[in-house]
Subunit: 248 residues, 2 copies
DNA sequence: TCCTGTTGTTAGCTACCTCTAACAGCAGGA
DNA sequence: TCCTGCTGTTAGAGGTAGCTAACAACAGGA
């Protein structure tokens, strides 16, 4: 009950070491400097000073040249980091359908920064999904069906309710390229894939963003839009991929 | 098209500076060292060397004692970071319903680490939610209804399909406390809130985790369970809150 | 016993990022 | 004109974290 408070502000690096020690002990029974270095992809010379710090904090048992062990407080801290890692990985791969390797890498990078609150919400998300199969997994199935197909065919599968869309919605299927200078719209969908999609996302062209056409080049091709107080220019091919609806 | 490649590996700190400059210029027209220091909550003496680095990288225009501006490449890099920040904030607050301040803080911490792939998936999530209102937002409404009530009453609202549950499901509403030593189960739900919930999550008691009762103290109160290869002990009050189903 | 290879420690270096404190440039007021 | 205060720069120090290279401890084989 006091151990969590006993390890107040570990650095990301020390948290990583702790997590690594936990996993090495779990998998190999004992943890040596060498194992930790290999698992963390650092040199052995970097491990020793980290072990000293963790020992000073009372999180590991460490005697020169001996096996390394976790104290109860260290075990608790390690498990805390690991559980964040696990929930992030599950969320990224199962809900967002990110490839296992990338999910793992992202989880590693983010596990040190996520708040208790976000952690808790992700868990609730899983609880809901598992306990409401008729709604929860149905939603996810639709989402994954839509978004996967989206990446290839740019249209929803036949079992998706919005495949045809309501008349109102169908009428609203305009792109940024259809707007006149001075007109505004709200980004609904980035209807393309690959490098162009990534470029649009990187520029901040995200769902719900309000955009306004500032001016159009004489040739009609590059258009300038205002987005969150900044002006950016888009090629016609990019603008056509940005589906919008009216501002409300 | 080449600017994104021109800023290959900015440190998290430099990305933050770039993002700050972008926002300061957007809000105040010009950016001075003082403004940046204040926005990033660092001292002015820390800003100057960072500006030199960014200028060396060709991302900002910087002359000693003059206003600071973004080059096209710098603007692109800043927008890239900012768009990550925005999508993370939206996702955390709208989908996971995390409070605005925490969502903001988490987004700040994670924006430097998230992959293109995860970013893209979050955007797709929003696109789906917005374009499939009959399914998408319905799911989210149910999730938020369930999970909010969950935090207070521990039961689903009357409009939630799983409120009563199927007979099969109702029969499976056992907790860890109902298992005998040697028996296993799969965690389905953490049926409690506050500190106990947080403690269970921190220990790695997460949905879908397989747990096995190792032994029970003579008094019956602390029980030891095996979880992902490690043994941890739970108080009865904690074990009762962990709802499980059979391993399949 | 000595040799050798593995393992772990140490020292010295680099890089990043921040701070404080002293100092420089500049503008406005007395 | 000089003084004063705001702003920005610089130098020095401290913390983290990684590396390399030299060295120490130890075990097993010849």
């Amino acid at each position: 009950m006091n151990a969590a408070a006993a390890a107040p502000d570990l650095t990301a690096s020390l948290e990583d070491y702790l997590e690594t020690i936990y996993e090495v002990i779990r998998d190999h029974k004992v943890a040596r400097v060498r194992d930790i270095a290999r698992a963390r992809k650092v040199k052995a010379g970097s491990v020793t000073p980290a072990m000293k710090k963790l020992a000073d904090l009372g999180l590991i048992t460490y005697e020169r040249r001996e096996y390394i062990g976790l104290t109860p407080a260290g075990e608790e801290a390690a498990r805390r980091v690991l559980s964040r890692h696990q929930i992030l990985t599950s969320f990224l791969s199962e809900v967002l359908q990110i490839s296992p390797e990338v999910a793992e890498a992202d989880a590693c990078a983010m596990e040190h920064h996520i708040s208790d609150e976000a952690m808790d919400r992700m868990v609730r998300f899983f609880e809901f999904m598992r306990s409401c199969p008729d709604t929860g997994s149905d939603f996810l199935k639709r989402f994954h069906g839509c978004s996967r197909i989206n990446a290839e065919l740019r249209s929803c599968p036949s079992d998706c309710a919005h495949r045809g869309g309501t008349p109102k919605r169908r009428a609203a299927a305009r792109s940024l390229a259809d707007l006149q200078p001075g007109q505004s719209g709200v980004v609904r969908q980035i209807n393309t894939t690959g490098a162009i999609r990534q470029r649009l996302l990187d520029m901040g062209v995200l769902p719900d963003a309000v955009v306004r056409i500032e001016r159009v080049a004489p040739a009609g091709d590059p258009i300038w839009i205002r987005l969150r107080g900044y002006q950016i220019s888009l090629r016609m091919s990019e603008a056509k991929a940005v589906l919008i609806s009216d501002t409300h």
